[in-house]
Symmetry: C2
Subunit: 580 residues, 2 copies
């Protein structure tokens, strides 16, 4: 039996547009001779809808749209292909949520369901097959619906998903699908969403495996696609009655198998015997990360209907990479950069910025800030950090002013190392509507920049980022001769420590045990903890790790907890004692 | 049997300080002759700890601190009084969480427990009584632990809570306690936290009722207190074995009653036969709201160790009320205000601001912004909204600069009506670390200002807010002759609509059915939806309603959902059709 997974880009709240996608891709699937097409989780509404799930008018519109889509499919002669699509309803429907992922606030909205739908459909040649449906999170739990599917004797388990990208997740996903297929004793089809939604980027990577776990088809990453495979499925044999059967789901819960029958429909038209495009190659690691960032920016701009973006271009590596991602996402003609030198800007910062502009063909202007700084300083006596921050804020205000005047989306150029340590000025370099490299540590910023230049070279294109922007020591240039290394440890050392503290939530003792310098642990952990209030007001940006600041890592601003100091010659400060 | 509820102000992460509070207030309870003292939920760690619950080092420190506190109590001769206190542990402990409130992300951290601890303790005169423990959310669910407590034959049900303030909640709370006491057939003691924690303000209002629901004692609102009552409790009679008994909790779950025995301890010393202060009066509505805001500000400043606050004083009502709340919270000597007139500022805006400064004795300075505006405008051609926003942003930057230079906490003066409609400049009037009236609609701002002046008069004090600030028509004064009413509906009309849309989540059809003008519904709903990105970057502020922007109301920024237009002569736009 030929099945298809429609790996598509739904937009939250766009019931009409998402319905159009369902019709269009069902037609494509039917044209390819598929008997069944599976769409991603919450396809009709987009995902995640957050508190829209509590809005009665939205839920009503969603169920009405589902009905309308079903009628359109029938009216357009697509009634012969089985369509599995996610939607939103007050009561569990054909595709009930069973497991609920803890990181996604799902418990605000959804009640864990306890039903596994199993429908019997014609598979060709007078045969029928039993198909079970589970949703996303169900796969990550042991037992549960997978066990129930096995008990039901299903030949195929389809799993609609809206699973966001994270580095390394694609490997985990394949292994998971293979393992669950074997446990269920059924072929498994995992259909995932594609595209950006605020901070989440769905990476596609849809998968079809057979009951032994053998990979039959795999969709591309970050692109729409129809993923098609021909499955050898056992004929359905389980009795259709009773229509509901409780099953011990092996994880302490009881799941009810609910059996349904699909009407025997006309055989779908197959267009010739076209070879199904089965498997796209996986992207290497840096290609994948970069594609996630570009997708995140592109979709935020497109779905929010911005015509252009604007950002500060300092000559440094962060703004250089951000500009490059933006140009790759929306095209250089829609990218505007602003050079804003102060009295502390080196000559090379200006020339490096101008070099990048020329290489990429961006719109550029220069707005020197010295006179504005002088006007402020005539009114206020500012020294030290206050004076440094003033410059950053003036730049932020210039960008916001130009955004208001000319209707660009302001892109923030800050990276994850800065946001973690608080080496960032609130309303200065943090100003903006979207922050493309928010979840990217500084060391990875350099890696991506080098990768992007190599990619250009391999294609015979001009490398987009001037070499000097990559190799020069980083500096915020807010004071004479200032270097990041005045305030921060070397980035490779810092980022390794930040990764262990932020991503893996290791405490001070564990960080030292992992090999980090005790004095550095004390200093950096304190910096990170103190900067929570800055992160609370930061713009959204695409998630590429398991702990994107904001959604994935929530700590109180008001907190007297301090990891116990490690650096006093090994003597541990008693737990709970507070430092000043 | 005399019991005490220690209604105290724990600080998140301050294990040592919170432990000290447990010792101190247990001593006070013992001095009053209490046999049992109940502390709020998560007393030892503070609440909510958010992702600190996932930090192994913090959990370990918490359990160690609990052990240490128990040892201190014994060492200080307080071993004879039973102490019920919340803490954090990986496995359900003596006070396991059973129900989990959906609005509080608890599902990120806690597994619903299924055990009701019931401990038998001496009640005096050779008698013993069975005391059951449930936590906070348990009370709000039908059945569940309350049913189990009844089945266990408990004479007293104690419920530690960290229940945040919301207008009108105190009425609900009492009725709930009364109802559950009757259902459990037991006296019920509800101990609540006091104090501010980021956006939440815990209001105390601890309650003791007998098994018939009669109110025996009630703590004050927003103040620490020991709430004491003498209970007539039935002698414990249920067999202590088996030690665990499953009970159908009537809500579909099964709860295990786990019976424990407290060692027969020395009779606690009673200090004379002092009359227990049983019941404090409830505050009237506006007093209560105002106390919540003052508590929120006071605790944010104190717990984050700020020495002073700074805010813009425009002569208008929002900044006037914010300054007054700040002065009431931290004292006028720690409140700094900045007058920042532009060419569009009326004379009265300056004189009204100066009048308030004089009435309250605040620190004041004037920083005219005209020359800074001119310097910006020499570099950029700005018109309309861009030019207006520039002024607001310059003011924001001045406040942030002074904060950096002089170490004040910047208070944002924006109200809920502005934040809802987006009538607010990102990084302008939104700039700051804490926003005292963030959750206060404009109409309530006026009410509170009038109330505060009346309160002053009734005490023979100078009314803190100039009458003109209250009575003049509101204006942002960012353009000549500008009035709020140019851009927004009349506030009483607007706020009523916002309340129904934001607080009650009514859709467009329901809003019209509720009596709001259809054209206004379309316009205002669209404004609110479009402003989500501004709210995402707003500073925290104290919650007084059920939907404080931020934590309580989460919508996607990227969303094409539009409530169906209502104003086209009654013709409804088909659901799902998107407006441009």
């Amino acid at each position: 039996m030929r099945i298809a997974l429609a790996q598509v880009n739904a937009t939250v709240g766009d019931l009409a547009g998402n319905s159009d996608l369902i019709i269009e891709w069902t037609r494509r699937a039917a044209d390819q001779g598929a008997r069944l097409v599976v769409f991603p989780e919450m396809m009709l509404t987009g995902y995640p809808v957050e508190d829209l799930a509590l809005r009665a008018s939205f839920v009503a519109a969603s169920t009405a749209a589902l009905q309308a889509a079903a009628e359109r499919l029938a009216a357009e002669g697509l009634g012969g292909i089985a369509v599995v699509t996610g939607y939103l309803d007050h009561k569990p429907g054909l595709a009930p949520r069973v497991g609920l992922p803890a990181g996604f606030d799902e418990y605000r909205y959804f009640v864990p369901g306890d039903t596994l739908p199993v429908f019997r459909m014609p598979s060709g040649g007078g045969q029928a097959v039993d198909v079970a449906i589970a949703i996303c999170e169900d796969l990550w739990q042991d037992g549960g619906p997978v066990t129930a599917a096995c008990a039901a004797g299903a030949g195929l388990l389809v799993v609609p998903n809206a699973s966001p990208y994270q580095r390394g997740k694609d490997d985990t996903r394949l292994e998971l699908c293979q393992r669950r297929a074997r446990e269920a004793g059924a072929a498994l089809a995992y259909a995932n969403m594609v595209g950006g939604q605020d901070e989440l980027v769905f990476d596609g990577d849809s998968i079809i495996v057979d009951a032994s776990g053998r990979l039959l088809a795999r969709g591309p990453q970050f692109e729409d696609a129809l993923v098609v495979a021909d499955l050898d499925l056992p004929a359905a044999s389980a009795p259709q009655s009773p229509a509901e059967t409780p099953v011990d789901a092996r994880d302490g819960s009881v799941i009810t198998i609910r059996r349904l029958e699909l009407a025997d429909a006309a055989r779908p038209a197959a267009v010739g015997a076209a070879e199904a495009r089965a498997t796209w190659p996986r992207l290497p690691d840096l290609d994948e990360v970069y594609a996630a960032l570009v997708t995140g920016v592109r979709d935020y701009v497109r779905k929010n209907r911005f015509g252009s973006v604007i950002l500060a271009l300092s000559g440094g590596i962060d703004s250089a990479l951000t500009a490059t991602i933006a140009a790759d996402a929306v095209g250089p003609d829609r990218v505007h950069v602003v050079l804003m030198p102060s009295r502390y800007s080196s000559d090379h910062s200006v020339t490096d910025a101008e070099d990048l502009v020329k290489r990429q063909g961006l719109h550029s202007r220069t707005v020197p800030i010295r006179s504005v700084v002088d006007a402020f300083e005539a009114e206020l006596d500012l020294t030290g950090l206050a004076a440094e921050n003033l410059q950053a804020r003036i730049r932020g205000m210039i960008l916001m002013s130009l955004s208001n005047e000319e209707h660009h989306l302001v892109l923030t150029t800050g990276n994850k190392s800065e946001l973690a340590t608080g080496y960032s000025t609130l309303y200065g370099d943090s100003a903006g509507g979207f922050a493309p490299i928010k979840d990217v540590f500084k060391t990875l910023v350099w890696e991506l920049a080098r990768w992007r230049n190599r990619q250009a070279e391999s294609r015979g294109e001009t490398p987009p980022i001037p070499e000097n922007s990559i190799t020069k020591p980083p500096s915020a240039e807010l004071a004479p001769g200032q270097m990041d290394s005045d305030s921060l440890p070397d980035y490779p050392v810092l980022d390794a420590l930040l990764d262990d503290y932020v991503e893996h939530d290791l405490g001070a003792a564990e960080l030292v045990a992992a090999g980090h310098d005790p004095a550095l642990v004390d200093r950096v952990v304190a910096m990170v903890d103190r900067a929570e209030y800055k992160r609370r007001q930061y713009p959204p940006g695409p998630k590429i790790t398991s702990k994107n600041f904001g959604r994935d890592r929530r700590l109180p601003i008001t907190s007297r907890w301090r990891e116990p100091a490690r650096s006093a010659g090994g003597a541990q400060v008693p737990s709970g004692t507070q430092l000043a």
